[in-house]
């Protein structure tokens, strides 16, 4: 048992050191700034500049009864159509289903998609995304 305590303590110290080094020294920390920003998951996208979709929260399927998940998705979908980016969660996930298109007007949200399956956000890309891709 003493050996196990010693071994696990070494593991903990290694995890602490490796995590700290990885976080503070590598460029991962700069990427992290945008890691949990809104994510666009584009499916069935033909035109680079077309936008359609609805928003659902990341982790929505975890530990949540189906009816709650549906309610949240509906609520969020409405908020995306009507309000600015700041109003919906930073961790929202925009999914593009085949049939649910999003109309964009001057006072609603316009989503411009790239052909990428998922846009990773560095802080520069986020700025671009906020200023150019989604308008109030």
């Amino acid at each position: 048992m003493k050996k196990m305590i010693l071994f696990s303590s070494i593991l903990m110290i290694s995890a602490m050191l490796y995590g700290a080094v990885d976080y503070f020294i590598s460029d991962r920390s700069s990427k992290l700034n945008g890691l949990y920003e809104p994510v666009v998951t584009a499916r069935n996208v033909e035109n680079r500049n077309s936008g359609s979709g609805r928003v659902s929260y990341a982790n929505s399927e975890n530990f949540r009864p189906k009816h709650v998940s549906k309610k949240i998705a509906e609520k969020t979908s409405v908020s995306v159509r009507q309000v600015s980016l700041e109003k919906f969660s930073r961790a929202a996930l925009v999914e593009i289903p085949e049939s649910d298109s999003l109309e964009t007007t001057s006072d609603s949200v316009k989503i411009v998609l790239t052909a990428a399956q998922r846009l990773p956000y560095s802080s520069d890309e986020k700025k671009y995304f906020v200023n150019s891709d989604i308008k109030k």
């Binding site: 048992m1 196990m4 305590i5 071994f7 696990s8 593991l11 903990m12 290694s14 995890a15 602490m16 490796y18 995590g19 700290a20 990885d22 976080y23 991962r28 990427k31 992290l32 890691l35 949990y36 994510v39 998951t41 929260y57 990341a58 982790n59 929505s60 399927e61 975890n62 530990f63 949540r64 709650v68 949240i72 609520k75 919906f88 969660s89 930073r90 961790a91 929202a92 996930l93 998922r118 990773p120």
Partner: protein, 229 residues
């Protein structure tokens, strides 16, 4: 007669209170275990993984995640067996074996991987610091619990293991708070951060209150053990 009736009534209350506590604990623990199993398809389609695609590109983070959830499943499941005094009395071997599994998965797998992943957790620096604290506290309380039982200090073993279990249960209580706050329409990130703080601090506080209230019966259990010897 009246005295006997009041004792029966008190026993019924105590039994009902235990049921009210343990039924949701068992239900949500098993639900967590059930919801974890699909992750072992290793599919990148889960939104939890999609959201952390940058991190999952790194093998050590990916390995840590799968080890952590694997350990978490065993930890939650085995811990459920540890608090049954009935089981401890009649099938002590089950308590010993599941306790060893719990200690092994916490010390060797769950806490170290959790500590590494803490640095990349969602939220601000404060939330990341909280995750680091959780991993360290979980590790420390489990080690103290193990050391106490090796020294045959049963009371201290119980106390430290309750503290350790309270940390393991943050995975469950966090999801309950998250779900509750969603139902009242809170935003995702605010909900996440508040649920996290409430679940960690709330569980620590609950464990300390529980330990404080149970002190008398702990001493009784020690007396019983001494008498048996």
């Amino acid at each position: 007669m009246g005295n006997r009736r009041s004792i029966t009534l008190r026993k019924t209350f105590r039994y009902s209170y235990r049921l009210l506590f343990w039924i949701p604990v068992v239900f949500f623990s098993l639900l967590l275990v059930k919801n974890t199993i699909p992750y072992f398809s290793f599919s990148p389609g889960f939104s939890f993984i999609q959201e952390r695609a940058i991190l999952f590109a790194k093998p050590i983070y990916k390995a840590s995640f799968y080890i952590h959830i694997f350990a978490g499943m065993f930890c939650i499941a085995t811990a459920l067996l540890q608090f049954s005094s009935e089981l401890l009395r009649k099938r002590k071997l089950i308590h010993v074996i599941s306790g060893r599994i719990y200690v092994f998965v916490v010390l060797g797998l769950g806490a170290p991987t959790g500590l590494y992943m803490s640095f990349f957790a969602k939220g601000s620096y404060w939330e990341r610091a909280l995750f680091v604290f959780m991993a360290l506290y979980w590790f420390y309380t489990t080690i103290k619990g193990l050391q106490a039982v090796l020294r045959k200090e049963i009371l201290m073993h119980k106390i430290w293991m309750i503290r350790s279990y309270s940390m393991a249960m943050t995975a469950v209580t966090f999801r309950i708070y998250h779900l509750l706050f969603y139902s009242i329409g809170w935003g995702h990130l605010e909900n996440y951060e508040i649920s996290l703080w409430i679940s960690v601090l709330g569980n620590i506080l609950f464990a300390e209150c529980f330990i404080y209230n149970k002190n008398q019966s702990y001493f009784k259990s020690i007396n019983l053990l001494i008498q048996k010897r």
